[in-house]
């Protein structure tokens, strides 16, 4: 028989072994020395030590995916609306300079009572507060109606409206007057109707309550609509109002920190080739953009494009004898913009672009209007607006070469209006500061909801895709988002809407950043057979000798151990 090298018996009986081999005429290698066996054991052990203590950790380290811990449950709760129930307490100051204190107190109480009775949407309610320094504060309000929008600091609730109650001779019933560019509502009442503390429901307080209800009716419906998703918000809202609200939400742009406004002058001929655009923007648009400052920022670019033709698919304008004008049919307006050829996608900056097009028709087709209502402008939802400018022709029947600031006035006023519409400003009440305030509250609601739902999306994503990495900055963005969301919620609860919008903006930004984190792209999916195919050519040749060597060593050690035990 042949003796295996490493057999524990062989070194002990060399003579007999040699004689045996001699007799069987087979030559065997000389027996291994114990040192050689020892060396081989060490070599194998060293290989395995490197594999186990170096190779395996490195493999583990380099192939594992870093997943930062995220507060999944909290994120899901935000998305489900369990953490925060947005409420809108609007603080309204009432000033009654010519009423006695108990009378005004009583008026306030009864008005508040009537208001609460009228209100059916608990999340949005009006809180009245009596002020005494009437003339002062009212004057200040008149003065700084726009700057009150910017009052983000301070712990006190924002005053959304000041109601001044004034007597006026010769009135049969109370009347109200909303000062158009302020946040002040003047209510005039006949002196005979001074509410005495005894009457439980004076007509004046009913009147004030109804006026306030009317002022904030649209805002309330809008917020209810947003909070309830796309389903009908309030029962009492007229279907007309619901329709107009959902239409406005549909056509308005998604909220962005920065919008890019692009003003383009298109004309099919060679003139007009210049316009007083800088002055026009400064004069007609800057005030509005400044009023929007607490909500969004804007960047502006302009261009003049000559020889801009309609696309061949656009139906040509038709001359209308009775109107003495070239008319475009309303249903053809969607094809008016030649998307294929007009360079309208500057893609500058990082905000979404709102396009405003000033089209000066060819003299042979001037004046050009919309057939149905002789309008000269229209809005393309979520995209921008178009204005047809028909400047007076020169003597030689050509368009003027230069458009002065004055001739641009109507166009830029219209663009301002279109901008208001596209940014989702509500149409009532009839005071721009009030409408912007409403927009702040509406935007705060939408941002709160969208940031919360992004949190939920991220939570579900991390659960459903175990192979994508989650870097640490995602976790920090998430915690920033969550803290700003709760700040938004508490600001809303305390009636500080500017502060609420500011933190909602941060929350939205951070939420987007965490979801769209650049490194969070999952490793490309490999089926298991691919993995085997990758590893086998490498591990096969290396693994077989290593494993066989290990097995032999283990066998030898076992045999040695058994022999020892037998000997003992």
């Amino acid at each position: 028989m042949t003796v295996k090298p490493g057999d524990p018996v062989s070194p002990l009986t060399p003579a007999s072994d040699a004689s045996k081999s001699h007799t069987t005429r087979t030559r065997v290698p000389p027996p291994e020395t114990p040192e050689a066996v020892q060396t081989r054991f060490r070599v194998i052990a060293a290989f395995w030590a490197v594999i186990i203590f170096l190779g395996f950790p490195i493999w583990w380290q380099t192939t594992s995916i870093y997943r930062a811990h995220l507060p999944i449950q909290e994120m899901v709760d935000w998305a489900d609306g369990k953490t925060c129930r947005p409420v809108y307490p609007l603080e309204i100051h009432v000033a009654a300079p010519l009423l006695q204190s108990p009378e005004s107190q009583h008026l306030l109480r009864t008005t508040q009572h009537t208001l609460d009775d009228l209100n059916e949407f608990a999340a949005h309610h009006l809180r009245l507060k009596l002020t005494n320094d009437t003339s002062d504060s009212a004057a200040r309000v008149v003065e700084d109606s726009t700057s009150t929008l910017r009052n983000t600091a301070g712990e006190t609730p924002d005053v959304v409206l000041t109601v001044r109650v004034l007597p006026e001779e010769g009135l049969a019933t109370p009347r109200s007057e909303l000062l158009a560019h302020t946040t002040q509502l003047d209510v005039f009442y006949p002196p005979s109707q001074i509410p005495s503390p005894s009457t439980s429901n004076p007509p004046l307080s009913v009147f004030i309550a109804q006026e306030l209800q009317r002022l904030y009716g649209e805002e309330k419906a809008t917020i209810a609509h947003i909070l309830s998703g796309e389903s009908a918000g309030l029962d009492s809202t007229s279907p007309q109002l619901t329709e107009s609200i959902s239409r406005r939400l549909r056509r308005s742009m998604k909220y962005a920190e920065t919008y890019h406004l692009s003003f383009s002058l298109f004309t099919p001929g060679s003139v007009p080739s210049s316009w007083d655009i800088e002055a026009a923007v400064q004069e007609y648009l800057s005030p509005l953009l400044d009023a929007f400052e607490p909500i969004s920022n804007f960047t502006i670019d302009t261009q003049v494009q000559l020889y801009a033709t309609f696309s061949p698919m656009t139906p040509a304008p038709i001359y209308d004898e009775t109107e003495a004008a070239w008319t475009l049919k309303k249903e053809d307006l969607s094809a008016f913009i030649n998307a294929a050829e007009w360079p309208l996608n500057p893609s500058i900056g990082n905000g979404p672009t709102l396009n405003f097009i000033l089209y000066v028709p060819d003299p042979s087709q001037s004046p050009m209007v919309v057939k149905e209502n002789r309008a000269s402008s229209w809005i393309v939802p979520q995209w921008g607006g178009v204005f047809l400018l028909n400047p007076p022709l020169e003597k030689d029947q050509s368009n003027p070469a230069h458009l002065s600031q004055d001739s641009l006035q109507s166009a830029f006023m219209t663009f301002s209006h279109q901008l208001l519409t596209l940014l989702g400003t509500p149409s009532t009440p009839a005071s721009l500061p009030l409408r912007l305030q409403t927009l702040i509250r509406v935007r705060a609601a939408t941002l709160l909801l969208s940031a919360s739902s992004t949190m939920g999306s991220l939570a579900r994503l991390t659960e459903s895709l175990p192979s994508i990495p989650i870097p640490a900055n995602v976790a920090s963005s998430v915690s920033t988002t969550l803290s700003h969301l709760s700040a938004t919620c508490s600001h809303l609860r305390d009636g500080r809407f500017n502060a609420a919008l500011a933190s909602a903006r941060v929350a939205e930004n951070e939420a987007e950043r965490s979801f769209f984190e650049k490194t969070m792209v999952g490793q490309v999916y490999f089926p298991d057979e691919h993995k085997v195919a990758v590893y086998l050519p490498l591990l096969g040749p290396i693994g077989v000798p290593l494993i066989v060597g290990l097995m032999k060593e283990v066998k030898r050690l076992l045999a040695e151990w058994k022999a020892k035990r037998a000997a003992a």
């Binding site: 129930r85 949407f121 809005i379 009839a430 909801l449 650049k518 999916y525």
Partner: protein, 398 residues
């Protein structure tokens, strides 16, 4: 209490909000060719033909993401330099003078494609290279190239698996990046690519079953290679001859019914089950819901006086502008009084409109250069002194 309950109910409905949205508000198209090299001319022609069609139906360039891994128009083997044709009659030059390629050459990778869909891009990537779709967007995704069972090859170097694509769409749905999505793919064994999709509101269609090849339609002998694939050719034939205007009422059912296996030489497939309402509902979506662009323009009536109408707004904006002018006048007059009187500013009401001064170039480095020069000069001086001293000493010792 009732209103509180209603609010709770409303909040619970929030989750469902995405499903209730009735109509889409914008259209996006992602058109991807994945193969390089001259002999794959037809794949670029496929994509460019579709690009031309969606543009014709009104999707602006800013809402089309076009990925072309090679530039056939400028290929030295192109007998018609600067042009790409998808038909041997060479009637329509697809390259034209107005095409916007968003991802070109080696930018077309699996990673970039997935990043595009999920918008996980660097902050400095321009908007034209981003898919800016939202919860109201209908997205058309068209891919063509060489593929196999559950993969599509990108650029001869890598491949995208059906799983990756499904996960990318899943993430898009999770972040409300589409309203409805039409996925079209023309490659060998194309139908295997959409088998793993799991997110709702997707209609998927492919050119060939498992173990089937997709064939090219015809070759142009002068160009020297096949110019278009069969399935794409017949889809385009339908779109070009039937869907002639953006107001077309033809629906997806009509499009898919137009598939003729005897012409296409493979079995095209359609997957409906992810679409709410399944096939019955999905067939009713019009073709221009995905290939066209919605534009429900709203004409403003200049004569109505209801709140929020044009007239009212104009009055308010005019008031705002007026107030601003007054304020800036006051401001400038205060400035004028406090410093020195500026008579030329007094009479012009638009004093604040003085054109901005052009900003000249400024130096970016802020450290003081003279100090550095001094240091450098002294170092040079010291070295020279040492050298001189050394040579003098060396000369004297020798």
């Amino acid at each position: 209490m009732i209103s509180f309950l209603r609010l709770l109910q409303a909040l619970s409905l929030l989750l469902l909000a995405g499903f209730i949205v009735a109509e889409h508000t914008s259209n996006w198209a992602v058109l991807v060719s994945t193969s390089r090299f001259w002999f794959n001319y037809r794949h670029l022609a496929n994509v460019l033909s579709l690009y031309r069609t969606v543009k014709r139906l009104g999707i602006p360039d800013s809402q089309i993401i076009l990925m072309l891994p090679d530039d056939m128009a400028c290929n030295p083997r192109n007998a018609f330099p600067g042009t790409v044709y998808s038909n041997a009659d060479r009637a329509v030059d697809l390259y034209g003078d107005n095409i916007e390629v968003d991802y070109r050459g080696y930018e077309v990778t699996v990673e970039n494609f997935i990043r595009l869909l999920t918008d996980r891009l660097d902050e400095d990537v321009p908007r034209s290279k981003r898919l800016g779709s939202d919860a109201g967007s209908n997205v058309l995704v068209y891919m063509t190239g060489h593929g196999g069972d559950q993969f599509l090859k990108f650029q001869d170097a890598e491949e995208i698996g059906a799983w990756d694509l499904a996960d990318a769409f899943g993430q898009m749905w999770e972040k409300k990046r589409y309203h409805e999505l039409l996925f079209m793919i023309d490659t060998c064994q194309a139908n295997t690519m959409y088998t793993h999709f799991y997110s709702p509101n997707i209609v998927a269609t492919g050119s060939s079953e498992l173990d089937q090849s997709s064939y090219s339609h015809h070759a142009d002998n002068d160009v020297g290679v096949a110019v278009i694939d069969r399935w794409t050719y017949y889809v385009l034939e339908f779109l070009e001859t039937q869907v002639t205007s953006a107001n077309s009422k033809l629906n997806l059912g009509d499009l898919f019914d137009s598939y003729d296996e005897s012409k296409i030489h493979s079995q095209p497939g359609v997957r409906w089950d992810l679409f709410p309402g399944g096939e019955a509902e999905g067939r009713l979506r019009t073709v221009v819901d995905f290939f066209g662009n919605v534009q429900n323009v709203e004409v403003e009536n200049a004569n109505t006086t209801e709140p929020g109408s044009l007239k009212e707004d104009l009055a308010e904006i005019a008031r705002l502008a007026e107030k601003w002018r007054k304020r800036s006048e006051e401001y400038s007059s205060i400035l004028g009084n406090s410093t020195k009187p500026q008579p030329e500013n007094q009479h012009s009401p638009a004093a604040h409109l003085t054109p901005k001064k052009a900003v000249g170039p400024t130096k970016m480095a802020e450290d003081n250069s003279w100090g550095k020069r001094l240091v450098g000069l002294s170092v040079v001086g010291a070295c020279t002194a040492i050298w001189v001293a050394g040579s003098v000493l060396g000369a004297s010792s020798a």
